[in-house]
Symmetry: C2
Amino acid sequence: MITLSTRECSEARRLQRHLVTLTKGHTVYHQGDSADCWYEVVSGIVRTCHIQGDGHRQLTGFHYTNDVFGLDSNTYRESAEAVTDVILQRFANGELGAAGRSNGVPDRVLEKALESARRSIFLLGHRTAANRMAAFLIAVAERSGISAGVKLPMTRSDIADHLNLTLHTVSRTISEFVRRGLISLDGPQNVRILHLEGLRATAGEAEPESFVHAAPVPSSWDDPCESSAA
Amino acid sequence: MITLSTRECSEARRLQRHLVTLTKGHTVYHQGDSADCWYEVVSGIVRTCHIQGDGHRQLTGFHYTNDVFGLDSNTYRESAEAVTDVILQRFANGELGAAGRSNGVPDRVLEKALESARRSIFLLGHRTAANRMAAFLIAVAERSGISAGVKLPMTRSDIADHLNLTLHTVSRTISEFVRRGLISLDGPQNVRILHLEGLRATAGEAEPESFVHAAPVPSSWDDPCESSAA
DNA sequence: CGTCTCCTTGAAAGCGTTCAATTACAGTGG
DNA sequence: CCACTGTAATTGAACGCTTTCAAGGAGACG
């Protein structure tokens, strides 16, 4: 199921590997727990949540099949919960080096985690509710294969906490997309994308034709002093 | 000085390593360039910016001494620019494996990048302008050592694009903090933190227990820091 | 001294939140 | 089968924060 290079496979063999099954709504680990394992999703969806001091919940990611989560150094700074029934593969962290947990996690796993974090940053960077919601739908659609329908097994509240909006705004925005003919709904969880280009434009990711590559910054970096080290 | 383990050092020796010097405002690389190097900041501050299709600029991070940036797989999805005069150490990516660039980047570097990405997510997850601005000031202060004054070499516009606000809101929020006695300014770039606990509370990161000003927050903070809780 | 860039501030408009009510639906027990 | 219950989703209306539009000020530099 999991695709690792041969080198990574031999590394992984040294780790304790377990399959974990959880039903919808249950917790994989809590924020503040000792972070001695990380996980890869075999099937289902997991959400990672960070609770701030004032009680605000921030959803730092939805993790689908082959995604990894739980790569924290000391204690988990977010909790992880099953959005659907899930099967996970658990990996033990190597013993803590001087720099904290470091050994035993293959490069590719860290890269995937970094990739995932970046997706969240780009999502949150969109300005308006419609921007963020459209970008989110596109992201979910791309993960599921754009094909026909997109499933949203998470609640509106989950989406809201992921996009830093309220569930009301999420609901209203989805309704607005339906009115505009961008998508249609078959129940709250089943979305059909009718007009992908329109969604892309709404997300702010379409090229407005008008400007090619507005990068007036001079690339004056060929000449600066450059010296090789050690 | 870069601190790497002996194993990482031997790995790093296989890489091409160069020192790069850039003056304020110049570009390290552009979004869309082929991503064949990553960088570590030796001195100064670098910002990484992502430009969306509609022209909106998102600032994905400020990178201080010892921070790394530029760890992209194929082409850079953000550009990197010098906020101040900077000295960087450039590392060549290993040759591209089947999974894209993977070899040659030590675990610790990927971990630092992941850490950095998470900080951005947590920042953007704060709800209001005051929340995000306070959290940003605290983050910058912690990086610089809380000590006395905090320097903000980046422009208000940079901060705005990092927190997903407008420069007007950033400016107004800073002014409000001054009015409330949380900070004082000595020129736009020099901040002195007068009431760290108040800032923490504003960021939403204080425990609800220590919430004294639950409701109104009048502008009677004029008196500098003193007993906030009990 | 003029120009430039950056920062600050006022006023009005727009958008998202908050408060509040209604609807839809799954599960449960009569 | 149907009422009852609880959770999730939708929608309306008013409020308020952030943006937008507009103007003015503070330094740096030639």
